[in-house]
C-alpha cells in the first residue's frame, strides 16, 4: 500500500469518526432541546480540548508531505472529483425537498446540520475512494 493510499484510508476513517461524533452530538442537543449559546460554548470548549490531540495524531499519520509528483496529481484529481460530488450532493439535498414536499412545507431545523455533516462525509468518502480507485487503476502496489 502506497503512502497516498494509507493517507486516504486515514482520512476516510477520521471523517467517519467525525461524522459519528457530530451526529451523536446533534441528536443529543436535539433530544434535550438545547437553546441559546451555553451548549455551543460547551461544544466549543470540548472541540478546543480535543482538536490538538486529533491534530497531533493526524499529523503523525499524514504522509502528504512525502508524496511524489504522480501521487500529488492523483490527489489533485481526486480533490476535483470530491468537490464535484460535494456540489451535486449539497444541491440535491437542498433542492429535492423543495420539489418533493412543496414550497409551503417546513423542515425540522436539525436536518440542516445533518445535511452539512453528510455532505462533508460524502466529500471525504468520494475523495478517498477516488484516490484508492485511481491508484488501483494505475497498478500501484506501493
Amino acid at each position: 500500500m502506497s503512502k497516498l493510499q494509507k493517507s486516504a484510508l486515514v482520512n476516510l476513517s477520521m471523517a467517519t469518526v467525525f461524522a459519528i461524533i457530530s451526529t451523536a452530538g446533534i441528536l443529543f442537543l436535539t433530544s434535550v432541546n438545547a437553546k441559546g449559546v451555553v451548549p455551543w460554548l460547551i461544544g466549543l470548549f470540548v472541540c478546543v480540548l480535543i482538536s490538538p490531540g486529533v491534530y497531533v495524531l493526524y499529523r503523525k499519520k499524514s504522509l502528504e508531505v512525502r508524496f511524489d509528483e504522480r501521487e500529488k496529481m492523483i490527489d489533485r484529481r481526486a480533490f476535483i472529483v470530491a468537490a464535484i460530488a460535494l456540489a451535486i450532493f449539497l444541491g440535491g439535498a437542498c433542492t429535492l425537498p423543495f420539489a418533493v414536499l412543496g414550497g409551503q412545507s417546513v423542515v425540522k431545523v436539525y436536518y440542516l446540520p445533518l445535511i452539512f455533516i453528510a455532505t462533508v462525509l460524502i466529500a471525504q468518502l468520494v475523495h478517498s475512494a477516488a484516490v484508492l480507485i485511481m491508484c488501483a487503476l494505475e497498478g500501484d502496489d506501493g
Partner: protein
C-alpha cells in the same frame, strides 16, 4: 483588460447583486419582494451561466487566450470559491440551528436559499480572486 478578466468582472457584479438580493429574501420571508428578488436572481443566474459557457469556449479554443497560467489562476480561484461556499453553508446551517433551536422548524425555502447563498458566494469569491490574481488594473492580464 483581457476577455477572461471582463467575464470575471461581469460575474463579480452579477454575483454581488444576487448575494444582496438573496439576503433580502432571507430577511423579507415569503412576500412579493422575495418573489421579485427570486425572479431577478434567476435571470442574473442565467446570464452568469452564459458567461460560464463563454469562458469554456475560450478554454476550448486554447491558443494565446488561455494558457497554463490562466488555468492555474482559475483553479486557485475555484478553490477559494469552494472554501467560501463551504463556510457560508456551514454558517447558515449552524446559525439557523442556534437561533431557532433544535426543536424548531424552518420553511423549506430556507434550505434552498442556503444553497443559493452558497452558490452565489462561490461565484463572487471566484471572480474576485481571478481579478485579484490578474491584477485589477492590468491591461494585458500580466
Amino acid at each position: 483588460m483581457t476577455k477572461l478578466q471582463k467575464i470575471a468582472l461581469l460575474n463579480l457584479i452579477l454575483a454581488g447583486i444576487c448575494l444582496v438580493l438573496q439576503l433580502i429574501c432571507f430577511v423579507a420571508g415569503v412576500s412579493l419582494i422575495s418573489l421579485f428578488a427570486s425572479i431577478v436572481i434567476l435571470v442574473l443566474g442565467c446570464i452568469m451561466l452564459v458567461s460560464y459557457f463563454r469562458r469554456k469556449r475560450l478554454v476550448k479554443r486554447g491558443s494565446g487566450e488561455y494558457d497554463e497560467r490562466d488555468k492555474s489562476i482559475h483553479t486557485t480561484a475555484a478553490l477559494y470559491g469552494l472554501m467560501t461556499a463551504f463556510m457560508v453553508c456551514f454558517l447558515t446551517t449552524f446559525l439557523a440551528f442556534l437561533i431557532v433551536g433544535p426543536g424548531g422548524e424552518l420553511e423549506i425555502g430556507y434550505v434552498l436559499g442556503m444553497f443559493l447563498l452558497g452558490a452565489m458566494s462561490f461565484f463572487f469569491t471566484e471572480s474576485a480572486v481571478v481579478l485579484l490574481k490578474y491584477g485589477w488594473r492590468s491591461t494585458d492580464g500580466e
